[in-house]
């Protein structure tokens, strides 16, 4: 029972982080139709900017604020310089350009910070909390809470604010959005900026658990099973998908086999693609061939 609770909490915490990472991914896909393979690199950049800002002696809240500002600028810059010229190109080309982007970002981070794993400065409360007879690390609980808050804020943003509604309009139909006076360019820029911001928070949580190193970028790849399971363009889908994948990995690792747990998300991914390619909550618009 204690193992079960422990695995569940860890799984949910990982799922929450995955959901945050997947959120950025879904945002970009929903608004601009681009599959962003650089999401892992965004997590990496986010984690390292916070790490560097704290290293300069900033208070952690300021460090996060600085990282968010940098993320916004970076996201807009990338959209303008790299993705804008690719509009209308084939999916192969767009996928490859984001892969190239991931390499560049990882290379830059490596030049500045090296490859040695660093410890994330502690500002998330550590320790253990008793839950149904099991001791669970507080930082995991914190990750769940933070992810819930951020995802909730994004949901509000999409339903309540003018910009959020504009983004959904563009996602729905670019031409119609244009005729209503919505600037599609600005929405594209905003999608990338917001994705980068969500990656800062995701990167912060990942780095808090695994340490600040190149490993953080690897987290970006398990995002694919999450978004495919939840539906590529669905925000609630990222939460459910994140939770399912997070729990599945932990249960497999706990009850079956550690090595198997790394590949289980991809097996789920293939099965989902075979049966229901648009995922649990995605819009049914897949092209059949």
């Amino acid at each position: 029972m204690t193992t079960f609770v422990q695995l569940t909490v860890t799984g949910l915490a990982n799922g929450a982080i995955l959901a945050l990472a997947a959120l950025g991914f879904a945002l970009i896909y929903k608004a601009t139709g681009v599959i962003n393979f650089a999401q892992g690199a965004f997590l990496l950049v986010g984690a390292y900017t916070i790490f560097a800002a704290v290293g300069f002696g900033l208070h952690w809240s300021l460090a996060v604020a600085v990282a968010v500002v940098i993320a916004v600028l970076l996201g807009m810059l990338i959209e303008r310089l790299v993705l804008r010229p690719m509009i209308g190109e084939s999916p192969v080309a767009v996928i490859m350009v984001t892969i190239g982007l991931a390499s560049v970002l990882q290379g830059i981070v490596q030049v500045f910070f090296g490859t040695r794993p660093q410890r994330m400065p502690v500002f998330i409360p550590t320790g253990g909390a008793q839950l149904a007879g099991a001791t669970v690390p507080t930082e995991r609980l914190f990750a769940i809470v933070l992810a819930a808050v951020v995802l909730g804020a994004f949901s509000l943003f999409f339903t309540r604010s003018r910009h959020g509604i504009a983004m959904r309009a563009v996602a729905d139909d670019q031409q119609a959005a244009l005729t209503m006076g919505i600037s599609v360019r600005r929405v594209f820029a905003m999608a990338w900026a917001l994705a980068a911001v969500s990656a800062v928070l995701g990167g912060l949580l990942v780095a808090n658990i695994t340490g600040v190193s190149g490993e953080v970028a690897g987290f970006g790849l398990i995002v694919f099973p999450v978004v495919i399971l939840g539906g590529l363009d669905s925000i609630p889908g990222t939460m459910v998908g994140g939770a399912i994948i997070g729990l599945l990995v932990q249960y497999t690792a706990g009850y079956l086999d550690g090595a198997l747990s790394q590949v289980v998300p991809y097996i789920v991914l293939v099965l989902i693609l075979m049966v229901r390619p648009y995922g649990l909550f995605g819009e049914v618009r897949i092209e059949r061939v």
């Binding site: 790849l221 590949v263 991809y266």
Partner: protein, 350 residues
């Protein structure tokens, strides 16, 4: 052909079907052949190793280009397919004592079969969904390699003996060069001729418009699976060559980075072009090797450069992909084409 001719005119079907039309093309081919033959005699050991890597990459890149460039099915599973080829051949030769040639042929067939199996999602998925499905196949194949220990040896390296060919023991880069060159040349000829047959034309029809292809009688189901099989056959050969040349097979050689490297090769070289695959393979292998060399030479003055070498390689790699995609999406093959046109039409622009 007279110097004032403004184009190439065919007077018979024979001349139209020929692979090469002008004397200039024959001259360039001869020149290229001379360079390729001269390379192992003048290259330093470091560049000889690089030349062998290029040869193997050419075979793999042509394979991937058949699938991605000509049939339009993106694959991120190249690394996994290379692993299938490498392990099949290595296991057959090392564990079961089969002759190397049998091992290599078996590797080609086995990889073709595995490729066809992992190509099945392509029957229902296109574009980015297919990219993600093949990404999954990459992870699943590598998982199998790492954990199916009694067959693959798991995470341990599998050591392969040096094979013998025509009485020569293939134990130096110089000897291997000729074997790899022969394979690369065969792959090039096969790749070029493939697109003069009905099979190759069917692939291109699927790429251009799959529904239209179906309407004119191309069975998209059969041909998509065939495209994966044919492409993976080439990749299997590349994998088997890697196994026997390096004599050590480990899963680390076949990670997702390798899949991405091969995709980069065909994008930089030119999608849907056999010669482009060659240019791309040369470019993507030579540039990192050259950067390494420069960093080694400058180690004294700029120690920073040598220390940060892997990071710089990574950044430059990404930058090359981005710049090519933005400024010349059709790659080096297209640039070469434009250069030829410029010379041919000079002093006119077009």
């Amino acid at each position: 052909m007279a110097a004032t001719a403004t184009g190439i005119y065919h007077r018979s079907y024979r001349s139209e079907l020929a692979l090469r039309h002008t004397q200039a093309e024959y001259a360039r081919l001869t020149l290229a052949a001379a360079v390729v033959v001269a390379v192992p005699f003048v290259a330093t050991p470091y560049w000889q190793t690089v030349a062998n890597q290029i040869g193997i990459a050419v075979v793999g890149a042509i394979g991937l280009n058949i699938l991605t460039g000509y049939t339009g099915q993106i694959s991120l599973g190249q690394g996994g397919f290379l692993a299938v080829g490498a392990y099949t051949s290595a296991i057959l030769v090392e564990r079961l004592g089969a002759p190397t040639l049998v091992g290599v042929v078996a590797a080609i067939l086995m990889t073709a079969a595995v490729g066809a199996f992992f190509g099945l999602p392509a029957l229902r998925l296109k574009g980015l969904y297919l990219a993600i499905a093949t990404l999954a196949s990459q992870f699943i194949i590598l998982y199998a390699v790492r954990n199916w220990e009694f067959v693959t040896g798991g995470v341990q390296a599998l050591v392969v003996g040096t094979p013998t060919l025509f009485g020569f023991e293939l134990n130096t880069d110089f000897r291997w060069y000729w074997v790899i060159l022969a394979c690369a040349a065969a792959a090039t000829v096969a790749g070029t001729n493939l697109f003069r047959t009905g099979l190759g034309r069917a692939f291109m029809a699927i790429r251009d418009q799959d529904i239209a292809a179906e309407a004119v009688g191309v069975n998209t189901v059969t041909y998509k699976v065939l495209a994966f099989a044919v492409s993976s056959g080439f990749v299997g050969l590349a994998g088997a060559l890697t196994a026997h040349w390096t004599t050590i097979v480990t899963w680390e050689r076949f990670t997702l980075d390798v899949s991405i490297l091969y995709l980069a090769m065909i994008i930089v070289g030119g999608l849907g072009s056999v010669s482009g695959s060659i240019y791309g393979a040369v470019f993507m292998i030579v540039v990192p090797a050259w950067i390494t060399q420069v960093a080694q030479d400058l180690r004294g003055q700029l120690s920073f450069l040598a220390r940060e070498l892997p990071a710089i390689q990574l950044g430059v790699f990404g930058l090359i992909i981005i710049l090519f995609l933005i400024f010349e999406p059709r790659g080096l093959a297209r640039i070469w084409h434009r250069m030829k046109d410029y010379v041919r039409l000079w002093p006119f622009r077009y």
